[in-house]
Every structure is written in C-alpha cells, then in structure tokens.
Symmetry: C2
Subunit: 315 residues, 2 copies
Amino acid sequence: MVSVTSFPRETRLIGLDWGSSSLRAMLIDGEGQVLLSRQSTQGASTLHGGPAAFSAALDELIGDWHATGQPLLACGMVGSQHGWREVPYAACPADARALATGALAVDWRGRSVRLLPGLRCDTEAGPPDVMRGEETQVLGALELLPELAARSCIVMPGTHSKWAQVVDGTVRSFATQMTGELYAVMRQHSVLGRLMLADPQPDLLAFAEGVRAARDHGELGLPHQLFAVRTLGLTGRLAHEALPDYLSGLLIGHELRAGLQARDASAPLVLLGEPALCQRYVKALDLFGVGEVQVLPNTAAAGLWRIAQVARGVL
Amino acid sequence: MVSVTSFPRETRLIGLDWGSSSLRAMLIDGEGQVLLSRQSTQGASTLHGGPAAFSAALDELIGDWHATGQPLLACGMVGSQHGWREVPYAACPADARALATGALAVDWRGRSVRLLPGLRCDTEAGPPDVMRGEETQVLGALELLPELAARSCIVMPGTHSKWAQVVDGTVRSFATQMTGELYAVMRQHSVLGRLMLADPQPDLLAFAEGVRAARDHGELGLPHQLFAVRTLGLTGRLAHEALPDYLSGLLIGHELRAGLQARDASAPLVLLGEPALCQRYVKALDLFGVGEVQVLPNTAAAGLWRIAQVARGVL
C-alpha cells in the first residue's frame, strides 16, 4: 500500500502524457489540477520491446501508484502504430466524447490503462492530416478557458506545429506545419548552416526581418527565400550570428502566412506550448497584425481530466 | 611540345568549367565546339591549399596543354571567396561584355588563366541573389540558340536551381531556388525519409500528384504540404516506394509556382542541364500548362567561347 503522504488523497485520475521522446505522469484532482508529476525519457519511440516494455516503463516511473486504484488515461504516441497498442484515429470533427469513445485499453499488471486515439482530418485539398496528443491539449485549453469553446484557433508551435480550428467545443479541422523540423534540418544539414555559429545570442531584429520577408514577399516561395539566408550572410548584409534567427523568422512567417489564411479571422487565437517558443510566435503574429493572443503552457493534464469526466458517461 | 594528334590544331580556347565539386577542361574550336574534354573531381571546394593547389590541379588534368599557348578562360566557383582568387560579382543587368571586363587573371606557371566573375542580382524584395558559373551557361544558350537573345527565361534545375530572365542579350535578373537541396536534406535527414526506401523505381504518377498538389493547393504552404508526404505514407494512400517522387514533384511544383509567376509569360522557356532532371521539369511544366519548352545540355563551353570572343575587344 502507498502511504497518504506520498499519494495525495485528492487524486481522481492518473494522467499520462506519453509522447515520442518522453513520458509524463500526473496525479490530477477533482478540479483538473496537477497535484504531482513525474517525468522520464522513456518515450514511445524509445521503447522497442512491445507491450512488456511499456508496462515496465510504467513500473519504473510510477510503480508505487499501481495499487492506488485510480483510473489511468493516456494520450500521445503511446497509441500509435509503434506504441503500446495502436488506437485508430478519431475523425474530425471530434469532441471530448468522440475521443473518450475511441479509447482502447491495455493491461498494466491487472489494471486498465485507457489510450486515447489521435485525430485525423480529411481534407478536400488532398492528403489527410494527423495528430496524436495535441487533440488532448486542445481540449485542455477549452477546459481552462471555457470561452474558447464557442470558436477559437488553437496553435501549438513545435517540431510539427498544429493549427486546430474549434467550433462549439469540437475540433472541426487542423493542419500540421513542419516548421520546427525544417529549421533543424536546414540548419544542421544544408548549406545554410555553414555560415552559422553553434550557439549565437538571440537576435530579435533578424528574427523580425525574416518574418517580414515571409509576410511581404512570401509569394517568391520558400525554396527561393531560404537561399537568401545564405546570400545575406555571404554579402555581409546580416552578421553570421544573426542568420539562425533570420531563418527562424522566415519559417515561422511562412507558417503564419498559411495558417492565418486558413483560419476564421474572428476566432480568438491561442498559443499552447513552451513559453520561449510561444513568445517568438507572439512577436511574429504581431508583425502580421494579430495583436491579441493568449498563451498557455502544455494543457495535456486539463485535457485528460476533461475527457475522463466525459468518459464516465460513455464507457 | 605537344603533338598534333593529342592536341587538335583547330583549338582556339581552353575552357574551364570549374565548379564546387568538379573541374572540366575543354578544347574549344573557332565555332565554339568542344573538340576534346577531360574531367576531374578536383572541384573548388575540394582544394584547400590556396593558389598552389589550384595550379597543381591544372597540372594534373591538363599539364600537357600548358605549352600550347592557347588562352585559358574559367567560370564557376573557382572565382569564389574560397576559390583560386575571388572575383567580385558583376551586377545585373549584365551581358557577355560585362562578364569579360569583370574577369581577373591568375598565374599558372607563367601563363594567365582568366577567371570570370559570377553574377549578383539586387532586388527590391530584399536580399541579393548570386550565381557563379550559371551566367556562363546562360550566355552559352544564347550562343547556341540566337533567337533566345531577344527575350527568354532560362532555367537551370539542380541543387540550387537558377531562373534567369534575358532581354536583348542581357541577364536582367535571376532567382535561386534551393529545390534540389531541400529534396536531399528532407529525404536524408527529416522524418519524411523514414518511410522511404533506399532506391525505389521511379513513379511518375506520384511525381505528377506532387506537382498537382503544389499547383492546386500551394497556398497551404510548403511546411504544411511537406507533412503530407508522411501522412500519405502512414495512411497507405501512397506506397512507400512512391514517396520520394511525390516529394520531388511537390518541391519542383513549388519552384514552378514561384518561378512562372516571376517570368514574362511571353518569353520562351529553356531548360539547361542534366537530361533526366530536365525531363522531370518538362513534365511538371506541362502540368502547369507550359507546353513549349526547349532543353539543352550544359552550355558552359558555348558560353566561354562567346565571352572569349567579346573579351578580345575589351581586354
């Protein structure tokens, strides 16, 4: 048995935010607040031993929580093809109820862990888009800021940024932008990186210049404007220290150009994620004339709580 | 002395097409035709010993041509900052005369090798663009197809594709697109490559689908459309074997989208370069409704000859 001191008795849910590269376990109370959290680097893409490996990862991180009897709910890549068990994507439009009913259970030494589905968005413009984990964050934002449920555009910047359009508490559609990965790959593996220093000071003026290049001349195309990162350095128009931030601004600017065009301009815009990265987006959005932006940190806990509440009714 | 059999007496110029990764030396006759050519992998970016290393590379490849007394003219990265000697860029608009007068000489064991300048294009839309070597190919195209001199758009597909606008025998402006490098970097270093096979059969249907995605939905943005390469594979909409060609089509489609918008639509379009790659562009251009396209292989020799003729008058 676990003692009351190490396991808060207000706990109503054990939430697992289980992505590719990390696992975060949270004790969540009856208000959706996190009482305690633990983190490990045993992300879904690091575990190669099938279900036993996932079960062992839980043993290692929260073995002492097993006996408490609280329900377990997980979101993220743990439900992917290479996760604990593949949970088919729910289709947009989808709300908390659709996610709750799409969950599938796995066994953790005699206890049930419910894995949430990701979301799939089929579009007329061709290929479907997918997310796993971010859908839970979107619902978390609606839990924390209920006024967003009627209509909002929720942006989660990152390696693969997600732009979700919410109407009536439902994710109507979303789109992924590979902005963060493009930045990393171009910086580390393309000719653009050759002029860049390993770890320069941030240069917000260069960042803004990159955003403006995308805003004002984006029709020249990203494959062309990327080359400018090189010529700006070669011709001394930008110091080599400034080039990474110019590249960052250019890519985020192209993301905004496409993302803002697709959203309902009357919908409030919310950023979810790592605060320093969100601040870059706030600055870039301001240059695009979008001044009113709310910023929240990772909202997975609130999303898991919201879905768990709905799940009681449907499961 | 070199014997007549190994050195054609019709030779009027020794042309050097000296890029980053290779050196090609050509004996050129009074009609601009190549009589004999030799190639080595001693490109400018492979030589780190300063002028002596460049001189030695010539010794190795064409030491037996040294005594013939024919003029030597070189284009390409050999004139860059890290080349034999830096030759400042000539500025657009520029014709053969401007390139000839911008050349600077280096010494090869008592003989003069003239290095041509690259071209620089300053634009209102921000950063300058640059080329080194392709300007000579453009002039070569005008030498081979004189009807292009009045007005043409000359496209050189590759790692860094160049689109040059020609009016009255003059390169008015040009733009670089990093299409080939984006393809290589995304395939080798991004998440997109994970679903791809090492060496699949070409899939022209998938290529066309990628071109159409860029043509019809390019406003969704390249950072978004790139992610579709992954979802098409994940959801089985495209076979994994087909993904490299879809990516190729998507990127070339975005290049055409931007390039065709910038050109004078009444100017004939010409492709210069490696035949198989040019055929991809012909197919993509056809999907964009541009059916009449001429294709030429590398035209550096004809360009060097054209500039050498002009140089007699101005040097």
